[in-house]
């Protein structure tokens, strides 16, 4: 698999209008070896997220211009392999159900502990790696156009999209890997 070399593997975008919180989170995740960038406001976040390969975006729901969920909707088209975690201080049932239906990776309620956010972001990167592995396997089997996109909801458990890849791949043979020198 080549996805382990992808730039996005440890690249995190934090979208948060409160600069103090954003900086604190950025420092924390840098300590763990993540490459972290910050964005402020919904529209700037969208531009920033599309400008580089991020594996995970941690976005506040309430931002200037666009909500974190609006940004996610746009990114699900332009960056479908990115895992998105929403932060909110005021979780409502409607918001959570919308996020579930759209395929947001996780929702974390403020205030949260560093342990909680650490686990959440770790899981989100695992979902992203699953999406990359899926795409890589589909590419090797020449099935990229014959399988459904790996939506975050399916990436989470490797479910429907992986099943479709499996069904479509019956009879296919993986090309031999180049030997590692």
């Amino acid at each position: 698999m080549t996805f382990a070399n992808e730039a996005s593997c440890r690249r995190l975008l934090i979208a948060e209008d409160d600069i103090a919180i954003a900086n604190q989170l950025a420092e924390y995740f840098k300590e763990f070896g993540y490459q972290v960038d910050l964005a402020v406001g919904g529209l700037k976040t969208l531009t920033k997220a599309n400008s580089a390969d991020y594996g995970v975006m941690l976005a506040d729901y309430k931002m200037l211009g666009q909500t974190g969920l609006d940004v996610f909707k746009s990114l699900s088209i332009t960056a479908p392999d990115m895992s998105v975690v929403l932060m909110t201080g005021y979780p409502s049932l409607d918001l959570v159900i919308d996020a579930l239906r759209l395929g947001v990776c996780d929702i974390i309620v403020k205030p949260f502990s560093l342990g909680d956010i650490d686990r959440t972001i770790g899981n989100a990167f695992h979902h992203h790696w699953a999406a990359l592995a899926y795409r890589e396997m589909a590419r090797k089997l020449n099935l990229e156009n014959k399988i459904p996109p790996l939506r975050p909801t399916s990436a989470k458990c490797g479910t429907n999209a992986w099943s479709a890849l499996y069904e479509n791949s019956k009879g296919s043979v993986l090309p031999e890997e180049e030997p590692v020198r």
């Binding site: 579930l100 909801t153 429907n160």
Partner: protein, 125 residues
């Protein structure tokens, strides 16, 4: 084409009967169970394309059933229903990767459309 097989899990007989009658009328193959344990027995014995389950049930509830399904049948979509919606259960549902979270009382035609869409996403219909 094979009929889609739906497993309906609810402790209320009235709801099970309503869903059985309506979905059977749409040409679907419906199995019913009154709790999570019975649902797992059915899943072990036959092919099911989608599980529609209530959350609050005696014995094994819908959340526990969802965990078992995701562990043992990872490609199988689960739709949760509840008359007691809350942010906590919705977040838990999101983390368990359920296909949808439906609030009771539901519009049965809308529920049918939702399930049909989920079956199409799974490549069943």
């Amino acid at each position: 084409m094979e009929k889609p097989a739906i497993l309906v899990v609810d402790d209320e007989l009235l709801i099970r009967d309503l869903l059985y009658d309506f979905f059977t009328g749409q040409g679907w193959d419906i199995c019913v169970a009154e709790d999570g344990v019975k649902a797992l027995e059915i899943l072990g014995n036959r092919k099911i394309d989608l599980v529609l389950t209530d959350i609050r049930m005696p014995g094994m509830d819908g959340m526990e059933l969802t965990s078992e399904v995701k562990q043992n049948y990872p490609g199988l979509p689960v739709v949760l229903m509840t008359a007691f919606p809350s942010v906590d259960t919705a977040v838990e549902a999101l983390r368990k990767n359920v296909a949808d979270y439906v609030i009771k009382p539901f519009n049965i035609n809308q529920l049918y459309k939702t399930l049909k869409a989920k079956l199409q996403e799974s490549g069943v219909q």
